[in-house]
């Protein structure tokens, strides 16, 4: 599996990230690093315990990282969740949270598959 195919599987924008980070080495480094990022675990914890301020920050971080790595699908859903949580609109946040969970799973699955093929 190539890095480009990985981006296709997680529905990201390979061209864009390469344009900004310049080298495949750097993109690969950060894509693999994404697996260790704690923000998602923090999001799940704080959504579970109803700490929405913390959940907002976690979603915001996922959004920022997704944006930097051009994980467009995850970026979109985490962006919407961030905005819902910023306004403390818990009702709206619930389905968006489900979407982020699904997109995160899709992203992580793609990266793991890519990692396995290295």
């Amino acid at each position: 599996m190539t890095l480009q195919e990985c981006y296709a599987a997680l529905e990201g924008d390979y061209e864009s990230v390469m344009g900004r980070l310049r080298t495949e080495r750097l993109v690969q480094k950060f894509v693999l690093k994404f697996l260790d990022d704690g923000s998602y675990a923090l999001l799940v914890d704080s959504m579970g315990s109803g700490n929405y301020d913390e959940a907002f920050r976690a979603a915001h971080t996922i959004k920022g990282v997704g944006q930097n790595l051009s994980f467009n699908k995850l970026f979109e859903s985490s962006h919407l969740l961030t905005e819902a949580l910023r306004e403390k609109n818990i009702e709206a946040a619930a389905p968006l949270y489900e979407q982020v969970k699904a997109d995160y799973a899709q992203t992580v699955d793609a990266i793991r598959a890519y990692q396995a093929s290295l």
Partner: protein
């Protein structure tokens, strides 16, 4: 400073991913410090703001967000020297605007583009480096310029003096006295509000007030006798001549220095009532600068030797001026002269000249320069500050003292690293008076007391000592706080904060209390010792001079027997038993003590029926310790009869005790004033059967001489 080391960039972002992307983009050209929240960023800046060349700042962070960091950077004025680039996906225009208003230099939005980030960072660093360099150059040049122009004025005025054959200090005195009077005017009225720079300009210009004398012929200028009318008319032209010389300068006509110098040269011989020269101006038609210099000139002329007169004393000179003997001056200036008389007297005798190699002069100048808003601190100053900070931190850590610095506005406390760790507080606390953690440790009352003491200090006596109890981890500890209030150099001075240290004196304090306790007690019986009992008793009598007190002394009958028959250990047990019995039976407020050997003392306040009280205690002491029968002999003295002197009472009680023993023991007697016939009120005469074996007549204990 930038040439020899890598530039330092502080990245504050809660996402490790984002931090490392940025760090990677910047590459190895920079020293990178990463922090994950705003509070940490402030701590890093606090320690080394002078070394941080750039801050990359995220907005949304836990603990303290990016705006919080910007606010702190403004409060502590780091923003003036350290550029900030904000990085965030936040792009709401209001937020961006707010960030720019708080002083950020640039804004990078996500997603990061390596080239863009790199360029912006490089540009910002370059711009600031250039600005710092320029600021340094300007500082150096201004310094050089001020130094040279002041030197030129000094030289110029000395030429005038030289021709004038006046004392070399005349110009210096005029300068200093002018300055003192101007400051005094500021203190007494809001009418003029001279700024620091106004005062500097006027007192410098004052130095050339007599520059016109250069055109006066030497034989008139230095004529030892009285001038003829004609000569005096020529002499008087020096005011107009000096003014014309300045007016004729081809350049600098709009410089404040030249404008003030013109006023001073031309009108420093005018008088408030219009009887001066050359223009006969009246009252406030005379510019205030010229009025002040006129006064300074007259004062200095009076207090100096001149070709035609000897110097008068300061007091005489002031009196002559106030009496109007040297022409009439503005009443306000007369008040100023009166008020500032002492400082003028001191200034006039001190022949100190401004020495440009004197580090103090340079420091003052540098301070002034730093206060000019457009000027940022020069690199050298920052390095010096950094060195001082390092020294301070090292000593603070070594000393195990909590050192702190408090500023009134904005209210904040900075605590030394060790101190903050020890107290479990942040190194910077904003608004400490309302900080829950601080209040939990020190208590609102303690805080207010300390703040009150500092506020009541004065610039001359700024040091405050304050012992207080703090609560740390649920435990109370005694601390000694020594602090020095800082006062501004304004007139009047303003309280701006304090520096200080807190030392843990708990152990010392507890040890002292223990030692005091130890020193107060007899180790065997736990009663007070004689020395301490005496102090307590004197204290009680002093507190209640209207009350009645009784002092009793007793010893254990046939105690020697107990020692001799059963050994000293047993004897000690008997004494302990007696002490316990006494303690159990005496009323609250009674002072009891072991005077020495088997002799005890008690002292108490009574209203009436002192005999009953004594009888009760006396009877309670009668009993047995194991097989040894215990009774006592007691002598009692009353303040009612003898007054409040301890030694008198003790001596009387001792005599009564002696009488009790002589009367056959197992009894008490009150001192009745006649030592040979001390009265026994109630005397339960002991039976022979009660005597321990061997206590026969002729026993040394029986002998009065033994007592």
């Amino acid at each position: 400073m930038a040439e020899n080391r890598k530039q330092k960039i502080l990245i504050a972002d809660d996402s490790e991913m984002n931090r490392s992307i940025l760090a990677d983009m910047l590459g190895d050209d920079y020293d990178i410090i990463e922090v994950e929240n705003g509070r940490e960023a402030v701590v890093v800046l606090q320690k080394q703001a002078a070394q941080i060349d750039l801050v990359l700042l995220d907005i949304v962070m836990p603990e303290m967000d990016g705006f919080g960091v910007l606010k702190a950077m403004n409060d502590f004025r780091w923003i003036e020297t350290t550029p900030v680039i904000m990085i965030s996906a936040e792009s709401a225009p209001a937020r961006v605007r707010q960030a720019y208003e708080l002083g950020i230099t640039d804004f990078i939005s996500r997603p990061f583009d390596a080239v863009v980030v790199h360029h912006r960072v490089v540009n910002t660093l370059f711009m600031y480096a250039k600005q710092k360099k320029l600021a340094n150059m300007v500082t150096d040049q201004v310094l050089e310029k001020e130094k040279q122009s002041a030197m030129m004025i000094d030289i110029l005025s000395h030429i005038v003096e030289f021709r004038n054959e006046e004392s070399g200090w005349h110009v210096q005195h005029i300068r200093v006295i002018t300055e003192l009077i101007l400051k005094q005017i500021n203190r007494m009225t809001d009418k003029y509000k001279f700024s620091k720079s106004d005062i500097a300009v006027i007192s410098t210009a004052a130095a050339i007030h007599d520059v016109g004398k250069i055109a006066i012929p030497g034989e008139i200028l230095n004529k030892p006798g009285r001038l003829t009318d004609e000569e005096f008319a020529i002499m008087k032209t020096h005011a107009q001549v000096g003014a014309s010389m300045l007016k004729a300068l081809p350049v600098y006509q709009n410089e404040p220095l030249v404008r003030r110098a013109y006023e001073i040269c031309r009108w420093h011989h005018e008088r408030y009532d219009g009887r001066g020269y050359p223009d006969g101006l009246k009252g406030d038609e005379i510019p205030i600068a010229a009025q002040v210099v006129a006064l300074a000139d007259v004062y200095d002329a009076l207090t100096s030797d001149r070709v035609y007169k000897k110097a008068f004393s300061h007091e005489k000179a002031v009196r002559m001026i106030l009496n109007g003997e040297c022409g009439q001056f503005n009443p306000l200036l007369m008040d100023c002269l009166r008020e500032a008389s002492d400082s003028i007297r001191i200034a006039a005798v001190s022949n100190e000249i401004r020495d440009w190699n004197d580090p103090n002069v340079l420091r003052n100048l540098t301070e002034e320069l730093m206060q000019r808003e457009e000027m940022s601190a020069s690199d050298r100053t920052l390095q010096l500050l950094e060195h001082e900070r390092m020294k301070y931190q090292f000593f603070a850590d070594m000393s195990q003292e909590i050192q702190f610095e408090y500023t009134v506005s904005p209210p904040s406390v900075m605590i030394s690293e060790w101190g903050a760790r020890h107290l479990g507080l942040d190194e910077i606390i904003r608004d400490p008076h309302h900080d829950e953690k601080v209040l939990a440790i020190m208590g609102a009352e303690g805080m207010q007391k300390l703040a009150g003491l500092l506020r009541c200090s004065t610039p001359k006596k700024p040091i405050v000592n304050f012992d207080c109890v703090i609560r740390l981890g649920g435990v109370e500890r005694w601390m000694k706080i020594i602090a020095r209030a800082t006062w501004s150099k304004d007139e009047p001075p303003v309280y701006t904060g304090a520096i200080g240290k807190a030392t843990d004196i708990h152990e010392t304090r507890v040890k002292m209390a223990e030692l005091e306790e130890l020193a107060a007690h007899d180790t065997m019986t736990g009663l007070y010792n004689h020395r301490f009992a005496k102090l307590r008793i004197q204290d009680m009598m002093a507190r209640k001079p209207e009350s009645h007190f009784a002092l009793g002394i007793f010893d254990v009958d046939y105690f020697k027997q107990a020692n001799d028959t059963y050994g000293h250990m047993f004897g000690d047990q008997v004494l302990i038993h007696v002490a316990k019995t006494l303690k159990r039976n005496m009323r609250e407020g009674t002072v009891s003590a072991r005077v020495g050997g088997d002799e005890f003392l008690l002292f108490f306040e009574y209203r009436e029926h002192v005999d009953l009280a004594i009888n009760r205690i006396f009877n309670s002491l009668i009993g047995n310790y194991e097989s040894f029968p215990i009774s006592v002999s007691m002598g009692v003295a009353k303040t009612q009869m003898l007054g409040m002197d301890y030694d008198t009472l003790f001596h009387a009680a001792d005599q009564a005790l002696y009488a009790a023993k002589r009367g056959g023991r197992r009894q008490f007697r009150f001192y009745d004033g006649d030592s040979s016939n001390t009265l026994s009120l109630i005397t339960p005469i002991e039976s022979d059967a009660a005597k321990p074996e061997g206590a026969a007549a002729g026993d040394p204990e029986e002998q009065p001489a033994d007592k």
